[in-house]
Amino acid sequence: MIQVENVTKKYGQRLAVDRLNFAVNRGEILGFLGPNGAGKSTTMNIITGYLSATEGSVKLDGHDILEEPQAVKKQIGYMPELPPLYVDMTVRDYLSFVCDIKGVPRSRRKDSMERSMEMLKISDVRGRLIKNLSKGYKQRVGIAQALMGTPPVLILDEPTIGLDPQQIIETRNLIRDLGREHTIILSSHILPEVQAVCSRVLIINRGKIVASDTPENLSRGMTADNRLSIRVAGAEAEALAVARRVPNVLKAESVGSREHGTVDLVVEARKDQDVRRDVFTAFAKADLPLLQMKSMDLTLEEIFLNLITEEKEVS
């Protein structure tokens, strides 16, 4: 549905976005993940037509944003990093103004406003001036604004920033719900959020895509399946000795004791060697019961850091 081809953005001599290529399919929730200043907001600003790319093109259903801006912009609801609110207006007037400029037909206007105020739980502040609202409310009015006229594409730049934990959970659920009817691109530097909401993740660092996959595949692809975490009932020295005798085990380390009379170990085996059976039998023979054994998945956090540090080493 959205085609981003070779998009480059230079601010003077500084390269903010470097030959970005990706596509977003209908109904997908795509997450942009990256540290601050990685080029997430710039990319979003280019997709929505706020900024123009130095090179490359953005197409929505085959229509170029620069050639047919009116047609394309009608299809997009955008919530920038800072919600674009007129603080001297009431929530109701503001949303009605947004309907005006987006050309939402009068017949659908009331319905659209009521529905999005309902969804974002801002119905109770509709008559208040935006400048008197708390940050969380402002943020939600910003999201409501993007929903006006139910555009097929939603682009949300850090939608949960400034919300309290309860609201963050609600907003994530809302985005998931919206994902059934809309194609969504959202950005975040909070990893669990992307993991919880998105069907696909683009990791961006210094204007470049460093990884693109589903959150599950990303963590699987980098899973250290040669590392096991085990909990053994017994003494530390004894357990370590047993673990080190298992064939193909390179390293065994104690990570302390969490339960009385047990010890937790991390066992690292040779790559592509499944040592789980051997570990089990070894400890059984030594009469040290295994209470727990699991392979250690990397969290997105670790993947993210890995990717970014790897890249630094390459460059």
């Binding site: 123009s52 009116q70 912009k73 001297d88 103004f97 400029i101 987006k102």
Partner: protein
Amino acid sequence: MLAVFRRELRAYFASPIGFVFVGFFILIAGVFFAISNLLSGNPTFTGVLSSLTFIFLFLVPILTMRLISEETRQKTDQLLITSPLSITGIVVGKYLAAVGVFVITLLITVLFPVIMSFFALLGLGWWEILGGYIGFLLMGCAFISVGLFFSSLTDNQLIAAMETFAALLLIWILDFVAQSVPSDPVSGLVFLALLGVGLVALVFFSTRNTAAAFVSFVLAAAVVVLLFVFSRSFFTGLIAKILSWFSLVKRYSDFGMGILSLSPIVYYISFSGAFVFLTIRMIEKRRWV
């Protein structure tokens, strides 16, 4: 465009700015009206309008300072520009809102000639007054377009207001300056050459293209040299001529006497159009930084 116009007009009166503009304008107009018409028993109202022109210097910057700068600062321009509205529609809507506040003010001042008509024995020259108002409105529109332009250059209202004030002041004193600048051909040549250099610099800094700057330099130099060789009289009094292109105030004098002539009307409308157009270009250019 209509949506932006309505929002902007409401914003003027949701903040003190609209009231300050209307109130202050009517206060000063009332003082002038009382002194020159009521107390002295003078029946020509257009004189009040003529002497009111200085008020634009102070009130137009207040009227226009936040038009675009505030959108940039609050980042609400992201909403407008990513909406299906065209930039032309946004800018024209905003411009017309500022003009709208001005029109509302002028409509209120119509009360003054109405008051006079109660006392006029021979009737008032209503056509003369209408002519004066048309000219006054158009001149105001031209001043407002300058303010609109400067508001698009910065995200700080105060700076926009000060720049507008400085520009309007410059326009204001242009006529005095034009009277005393040298009028011999050589100074005309120097002035034109400086203008040419300025133009080339503008081309260079807006395109960062040495070739384009060089071509425009050669073109400008050729035009200046050819003109000087073949039509020396062109340079006589040239500085004053060029300065008078920007003289908004002098062109009002006809209206002040009740003469409705076409050329100042066309002048004011194209002057406003040029600055609105420049504003649109400024905002379009921002996307390419």
